[in-house]
Symmetry: C2
Subunit: 257 residues, 2 copies
Amino acid sequence: MPGQPHVMSCIGIPGIPIIQQGDNLADIISQAIREAGETLRNHDVVVVAQKIVSKAEGRLVHLQNVHPSPRAVALAHQAAKDPRLVELILRESNEILRVRPGLIIVEHRLGFVCANAGIDHSNVLGDEDHVLLLPEDPDHSAQALRRAWMKDFGLNHLAVIINDSHGRAWRLGTVGVAIGLAGMHPLTDRRGDPDLMGRTLQATVIGTADEIAAAASAVMGQADEAIPVVIVRGARYEPGEGRLRDLLRPKALDLFR
Amino acid sequence: MPGQPHVMSCIGIPGIPIIQQGDNLADIISQAIREAGETLRNHDVVVVAQKIVSKAEGRLVHLQNVHPSPRAVALAHQAAKDPRLVELILRESNEILRVRPGLIIVEHRLGFVCANAGIDHSNVLGDEDHVLLLPEDPDHSAQALRRAWMKDFGLNHLAVIINDSHGRAWRLGTVGVAIGLAGMHPLTDRRGDPDLMGRTLQATVIGTADEIAAAASAVMGQADEAIPVVIVRGARYEPGEGRLRDLLRPKALDLFR
């Protein structure tokens, strides 16, 4: 007797308006979910694009108000970038790892390695002078959304991921990754579990939150449709109080800095 | 009038038996798809775990038959690994990038950077002496599966991805990535498209095949259930004659070797 297919559904929510500073993001998304004929259920993972979280939190910066330091001016020359943008990249970073024209790879103050400190220059206000920083504390943002939705939809359990698109060192193209999360452990540790043949697995820790973030990102698309929220239903993950930090390789184990 | 949700479904196919060398993988999977009450439709992406492709292709090696070179013996000492396994890692690699106890990071002969040349030591035969190499030519394997299924299910269009789980330089946990593909362009290039505000996007190339591979990997799980095949339905991608190579960053642009 064959089993049933195991289905994970990634449900992109349309109809979310352009978000402004101070907007109640949880309420706006709740409404869009209901207007799309959807709801949230226990054990769903709601993946929210960083961009709308940042906008709601007022992380938009007008470059006119940024005064670059001498260090930013020098680095901007090396990277062929606007010195004011580079000043913001420096402020948002713990460390500069690599520089080439058009690209500055940093350790972000949140701990992950990414390009240009995740500062978004597109989709912002339709002009070249505004840029969008990442949320101040994406784990905290995720937790706030999670609490609001659990109450609103009457749930016992929900997970929330804030995702962004990151490049990779050795592969082309960006993929969605988690930059903040709540209600789940981002890793699934199968070390010590028996494998299919009864032998102990040796090195299998799965980046579950990043796989779910990537799945959602495949639905979000970019630019020609505004789908900044995806409900992932049927994903296998471990509920709990995880944090972004759990996903980051400790510097001492980093072979590539 | 709000739009409909945009849904991407990842349908894990149960009931696939343990695969042996010489098995007709396309037929076995077709049968499992039908027995699960599913089918394949135009524009589906079928994601197949590397492991079953390798097994069908006879990529299982008994370590007893491997005679390590002096170079393998020296590297095995440095990496605290079986010299015979290290011999296979060397044979499967273009270049060794990093070594620490338990880990050898290589450029695989297929061109991607990965740990231990992707040689799988678990889920193989229930003993410690067999290891599984990656498929000889995963693009070719994907194309063969694609052709068989298009005929079998009477389709005009289908994409196939062979995925594997890779670690990342700066993040913990493995994520699914494409190591072979057919019927799609693995990248979606949105440079030059207008964004939501009418401004031109500058640097958005999306690693679509890897996002789909990761989504499928989230369904495959590991070890406690055997779901080596996932149908991804509703994904947005560009049909065409893509190759794994399209996904790999050219060495000249690599800042992290």
